[in-house]
Every structure is written in C-alpha cells, then in structure tokens.
C-alpha cells in the first residue's frame, strides 16, 4: 500500500509527465518517420492496422511484428509510451489466460491467445509509429486531406498547444491546495487508505477552479477563432488548399512504401515456405 501511494505520487510529478508527453509530441522531428508524408503513413497504417486482425498465421504475424518494431524504433518513441503499450498488451491477455485456466481451460488456450496478443501488438505498434511518430500538425493536415471533419484536426492541433499550459495550471492549483491542506497521518493501513482518499479528493477539488479558469480560456480561444474567421474558413476551399499545400510526396516516401511491400511479401513467402 505504501509503495502504491508512493508510485502514484511519483507519477504525479507533473514535470515528468509533461516532459514525456511533450517529448513524444515535439521531440522527434528529425526521425525518418517524422519526415514522411502523413498521407502515406496513414495509408500504411490502414494496412498494418487492419490486416493483422484477419491473419491467423503465426509466422506471417511475427514477420509483420518485426517490421512494426523496426518502424517504432525508427520513430524514436518516448519510453513512457512504449512502457504503457507493453503493460497494456500483456496484462490484458495475461489476465484473460489466468481466468480461462481458472474456468478449466488447458494449455491448448495458449496458442489462440498468443495469436491474439500478436495481433494486438502489431496493430498498436503500427498506431504508435504513426500517431506518436508524426508531428501533430502534420498528422492533422494528413487527416484533413482524407476528408476528416475539420473539428478533429483543429482539436489535435489545439490539444498539443493547450496541454502544457493546462498541466502547469493544474499543477499550480494542486500545489496551492496541498499548501493549505492538512493531510491525515499515513500510519497504519487505515491511515494509508485515508491518505490516498485525501489525495484523490484533493485532485477532484482542484478541478473546481480549473474548470472556471478553463471556461474563461475557452471563451477567449473561441472568440479569437471567430475574429480570424474560423467558421468562414471552414467552408472556404481556398483556405483548405493553402493549409494542405505543405504536403508533398518525396522519394523517401517511395522508398518506405517499397520496403514495406517487400517485407510483407517476404513474410508471406516465409509463412508459405514453412507451412
């Protein structure tokens, strides 16, 4: 229990979180993946995000898995994200395995669950590559090009800009609450539970001023948007064209596509050879 409160409090050191998230968003502009055209990457994701669900061949899945591991490496994803990915994939299927054994399954369970884990892993690594590897602005333009609602691409660009501000503000509010508060003693099991409850209550209470401040800020944001003719620009095709003019397919994109196709073909061939 003590470890738990500590680990939660550690995680809540805002600087750590902020650094990780910002690093993930803006820290790797110079990677191979970030330099690719977002449209190419999105189509690549359409393939690697959907196809694995329909494949049951372990060799083929392993081949695809190796490939997405390489692309994830090339995109230099922040360690925190990778850690979350591992925890997510393995706790989920591990838990299912334990429960299935509990209900009288045997070792025949392992194979289908392994296949399912591989599928999930391939799909999520592909999404990590595309959505974390890309600069948010480029990602938003790519989505816009495919005709996604403009609100979504606005939300992505806006989220990446507002997040550091919001986090800092939340941290300040939380610290001021901590300074004024009188936390219960954390001795004994009951004391520790009470302490944990106190921390959670503090976080919830901190949302009261945060909500009011954010309300003010969102009004300013929307008014600024209106002043710049945001909703008019939404309907004007000329504006959209200007925003999408930065997208260009280069030779690197071609190389990336060729490598992907060759790799997938080799995996298919390998699985056919083994089978």
């Amino acid at each position: 229990m003590h470890k738990l409160t500590d680990s939660i409090l550690d995680k809540f050191s805002m600087d750590f979180l902020r650094n990780q998230v910002l690093k993930n968003a803006y820290g790797n502009d110079d990677t191979v993946i970030a330099g690719l055209d977002p449209r190419v990457l999105l189509i690549w994701y359409l393939f690697f995000g959907l196809v694995p669900w329909f494949i049951n061949d372990v060799v083929l899945l392993l081949g695809l898995f190796l490939f997405v591991v390489l692309t994830t490496r090339a995109a230099r994803i922040a360690p925190l994200v990778l850690f979350l990915f591992c925890v997510g994939v393995f706790t989920q299927t591990g838990y299912l395995l334990v429960m299935a054994l509990f209900f009288g399954g045997d070792s025949s369970l392992v194979a289908p669950l392994l296949v399912m884990t591989l599928k999930v892993a391939v799909v999520s690594l592909a999404s990590v590559t595309v959505f974390s590897g890309l600069d948010p602005d480029r990602l938003a333009s790519g989505l816009l090009w495919f005709g996604c609602p403009d609100q979504l691409s606005f939300s992505i660009s806006f989220a990446y800009r507002i997040l550091p501000v919001l986090m800092e503000e939340f941290q300040n509010i939380l610290l001021s609450y901590r300074l004024r508060g009188n936390p219960p003693k954390k001795q004994g099991l009951i004391g520790k539970i009470r302490y944990l409850g106190y921390q959670v209550k503090l976080i919830i209470q901190a949302f009261y001023p945060l909500m009011l401040n954010t309300a003010k800020r969102s009004r300013t944001t929307v008014e600024a948007l209106e002043l710049k003719g945001y909703r008019y620009a939404l309907k004007n095709p000329g504006v959209k064209k200007m925003r999408l003019a930065m997208l260009k397919v280069t030779r690197n994109d071609g190389i990336f596509i060729v490598i992907s196709v060759i790799w997938a073909a080799c995996s298919v061939a390998a699985s056919a050879a083994i089978a």
Partner: protein, 285 residues
C-alpha cells in the same frame, strides 16, 4: 428547444473546447496512473467522467458530450500513440451517448439528488454498452471461440465483472460524488464566463428526456458502435464461413483493404482537385 435557451454556435463551440481540454487532461492522467488489484477486484481511477457529466448538466449536453469524446480520443489515444483505429469509434460513441443522456435528465442543477441519479445512469449506460461491445469483440477476434474450453465463461465473467466494478467503484467514487459536489457549486458561476444564462425553468431543454427522436438517435449510435467495433476486429465470422470454398480468405481481405486504401487516395485526390477548382473560381470572383 426554447428560444431563450438556445446557445449560439460559438457558445456551443466554447463548451466543446472546454469539455475537450478538461476531459482530455483527465484521461491523460488516468492513462498514466497504474491500476492496482486486490484479489480480482480492480481499483483503478478508471475515468474522470464527472467532468463532462458536470458540464453536460450545466450547458448544452450534446456539445459537452462530443467534446469529451473528442478530448479522450485526441489527448489520451492519439497523443500517447494508443490509437486503436476504427475500434476507438466505439468508445467515442458510448461516451457521447452516456454523457448526453445524463445531461438531458437534469432539469435543475441545484437538485443534488437528480444530479446523483443522472450521473449514475450516464455511467451505467456507457459501461453496459462498452461491456456488450467488448464481449462481442472477443467472440469475433478469437478463432473457434466456443470450441476453446473455458474461454467463453472467462470472457463473460471478466467482462461482466469489470463492468459491474466500474459502475460501482468508479461510478460512485469518481462520477457521482464529484458531480454532486461540483454541479451545484459551479451553477451560476461558470455560465456567465461563457456568456450563457444558467439553466432554470425558463431556459431548460424542452421536450423531456426521451423524445422519440432522441431514442432513435441513441439506438442508431449504439448500433454504429457495435458495427464499428466488429468491423475493426473482425467481419470474421462471415469470412471464415466463406473460406470453405474461397480457399484463401487472407488474400481476399488483404485485397479488400488494399482496394480501400486506393479508394481513400483517389477520394482525397478528387477532393483536393475539386478544392483547387473551387478555389480558382473563388479567386475569379
């Protein structure tokens, strides 16, 4: 809707932005806080759904609901790179529906009892829909679901238990109690900041909670959620069954997906070309 209560388009946008940034921030934290288990009871700060619930009870429910769902998608899925593709549509729709229903129920935000009931109903609706979709998902993703001994029971058990656990634990601790605390306190304070009149007898939403149109919309949304999830994780049953005579189902599906990709590119090209033409015309004016 009453004329007086009608929010302007930009005020709705404000609610959207507000709900998106707050709930996004909160889901970012919940994604990062580790959950811990005592036995098989999982205690996780599953979600801070009280934020969109509070906003939906005070402002326009639909904007708040859509904002919350978008915020979750953008902040915790796309920013952390955990975007699950089409499957995320399921979460998006269930969150929207749950929050929207809860927001419509409340007539007077100062009445704590109604606020509590509404938030629990919202959570329950959201969790139940998520649970059903999850069970269906595993059924489609695992080959020979029924044939694997022990798997069906364990899936039903774990999913059902997780659902109940979320409703009782997260629902009461992290949705109902905070909403009861926040909604009456924020009432009358947060509305002027957006230039909106507080919700009262005159400005409340007309037509009750469940107009036929609402119910139809909600059902359609739920069906779409199931459809999206199944499309994301399968379409499997159908293909498997055909595979008896089609020989190699994988190649067919890969073909379909390649075709989809090509179509997407073509659509994008056509669109951008049309945009160019339109903008050229626009310049001629």
């Amino acid at each position: 809707m009453d004329v007086k209560s009608r929010m302007t388009q930009s005020q709705k946008m404000m609610v959207f932005v507000l709900s998106m940034s707050l709930y996004g921030l909160a889901t970012l934290f919940t994604e990062l806080i580790p959950s811990f288990q005592i036995g098989i009871v999982e205690f996780s700060v599953e979600y801070f759904l009280f934020i969109p619930l509070t906003l939906a009870m005070l402002f326009d429910p639909l904007s708040a609901a859509l904002g919350a769902a978008t915020g979750e998608l953008v902040f915790s899925e796309i920013m952390l790179g955990q975007f699950g593709g089409l499957g995320e549509l399921e979460k998006f729709l269930t969150v929207t529906i749950g929050v929207y229903i809860a927001g419509r129920i409340v007539k007077d935000p100062r009445n704590r009892r109604v606020v509590a009931a509404a938030s629990i109903i919202g959570v329950t609706v959201q969790q139940l829909m998520g649970c059903v979709v999850d069970i269906l998902k595993v059924q489609f993703a695992v080959e020979d679901f029924e044939a694997v001994a022990g798997l069906p029971e364990s899936v039903f058990f774990t999913e059902g238990f997780a659902c109940l656990n979320d409703i009782l634990f997260s629902g009461i601790l992290f949705c109902m109690l905070p909403a009861m605390y926040l909604v009456p306190r924020l009432y009358g304070k947060i509305e002027p900041l957006l230039g909106v009149k507080p919700r009262d007898k005159e400005t409340q939403l007309e037509g009750g909670v469940f107009t036929p149109k609402n119910i139809a919309l909600i059902l359609a949304g739920f069906a779409a959620a199931i459809g999206a999830e199944l499309l994301a994780s399968g379409g499997y049953e159908l293909i498997d069954w055909e595979a008896d005579w089609a020989g190699n189902s994988t190649s067919i599906i890969v073909g379909i997906i390649v075709a989809l990709a090509v179509t997407a590119v073509a659509a994008g090209l056509i669109r951008s070309r049309a945009g160019r033409k339109a903008s050229a015309e626009y310049r001629n004016f």
